[in-house]
Symmetry: C2
Subunit: 222 residues, 2 copies
């Protein structure tokens, strides 16, 4: 029997689209971040505040992934940033083909940074590359400090962990949440992960997060 | 061409196991509830408090579904209730075959009620029957009041909606959450859904929820 070594990995349809998206974004020198979390961790609120804080400095576009509704896209549009809605109609994650189609609807030449807000789900989206440069995982305080241990995949794969809703850690009735346990568990899975504790409600921690974004946009293609 | 009408629905492997589990539970007159929510909505804390409140009245067992770790089973065992851990090793939902295997490890003849705590995920578990009598969806206040609209499937399929962490609605710094919007949106999807606002932290609302459980155990096979 003769063996044929084709010498290259055979890509899935999703990986093909992801590679295509990645090349397209590189050509246009756009940083692309794939934001992943449970429903209700505050992804959209983080985005609206981030866009406002970086107004005039970094031009941001958003691709919104939701099972149903365009509630989040409407919220993003109040900031003035361009946003495109994808409805997955039941699917638990975005696909690279859907993102490919959405990229064609954004004013690409006017953008420095694209956020993809994935479907709210701490499990499935971590397994599907969309062509992004980095994944960003969001964990909010009321979700509990055991989540990196219980849902390790996304914490292992992300460049940044945003710990949101830290305003709920304050007196008089703080939520039980050991922020040091989260940092330790996340770093056990992913030594170099950047961690920013923030509150999208009060703006606490946004200076550091936005500084990281500005630096990453500047350094990515230089 | 000859048509052959087999006259019955062909079941998937999962449906076969679900049916088998359902028959097994009925034989033993056990009420089985499949609890579904995002990570961190408070499923395990609801269970530990429910078990304590019903101690001496209803005999409860728990099947714990998690991607990794047995943290939740250890928490359940502190109440004295029997609990069996399933680790899905990456899968985003429990399967009926996994539940079938776990049922064999519980002291079935001593139980009135089995809770299955599914993997934390508001999307995928809603599509897989496990043989339960009813699904119970948990939504916690900090997740936001737009979740029934954005993740309709599980709200449409559940017998009960537990709105957890209502202690966070209180002054001095209440979380933004319109409980009436949640009730209205859930009832649009599911007219007869039972809704219990609770706090697993303070015990608020548990009298009504536990009364519903006691009534359901009593009525199911009578």
């Amino acid at each position: 029997m003769q063996k044929i070594d084709v010498g290259k990995k055979i890509l899935s349809a999703n990986e093909e689209y992801a590679l295509r998206n990645n090349r397209f974004l590189a050509e246009h020198k756009i940083l692309c971040l794939n934001m992943i979390s449970s429903p209700g961790s505050g992804k959209t609120t983080i985005l609206t505040r981030t866009i406002s804080e970086l107004k005039g400095k970094i031009k941001i576009g958003v691709i919104e992934g939701d099972i149903q509704t365009d509630i989040d896209t409407q919220r993003i549009k109040t900031t003035g940033a361009p946003a495109v809605q994808i409805n997955t109609n039941g699917a638990c994650h975005l696909s690279a083909a859907q993102v490919n189609s959405a990229l064609g609807k954004l004013p690409i030449k006017k953008l420095d940074l694209i956020f993809i807000e994935n479907v709210g789900n701490l499990v499935c989206p971590s397994a599907f590359e969309l062509g992004e440069n980095y994944k960003i995982v969001v964990l909010s305080v009321p979700e509990g400090d055991d989540k990196p241990a219980k849902y390790p995949a996304i914490f292992a794969k992300s460049k940044v962990l945003l710990i949101n809703k830290i305003d709920l850690l304050k007196a008089p009735s703080p939520v039980d949440f050991d922020i040091e346990r989260v940092k330790t568990d996340a770093r056990k899975l992913n030594k170099g992960i950047e961690i920013f504790p923030v509150s999208a409600k009060t703006g606490s921690g946004f200076a550091e997060w936005c500084q990281w974004l500005a630096k990453s946009v500047k350094n990515l293609y230089s």
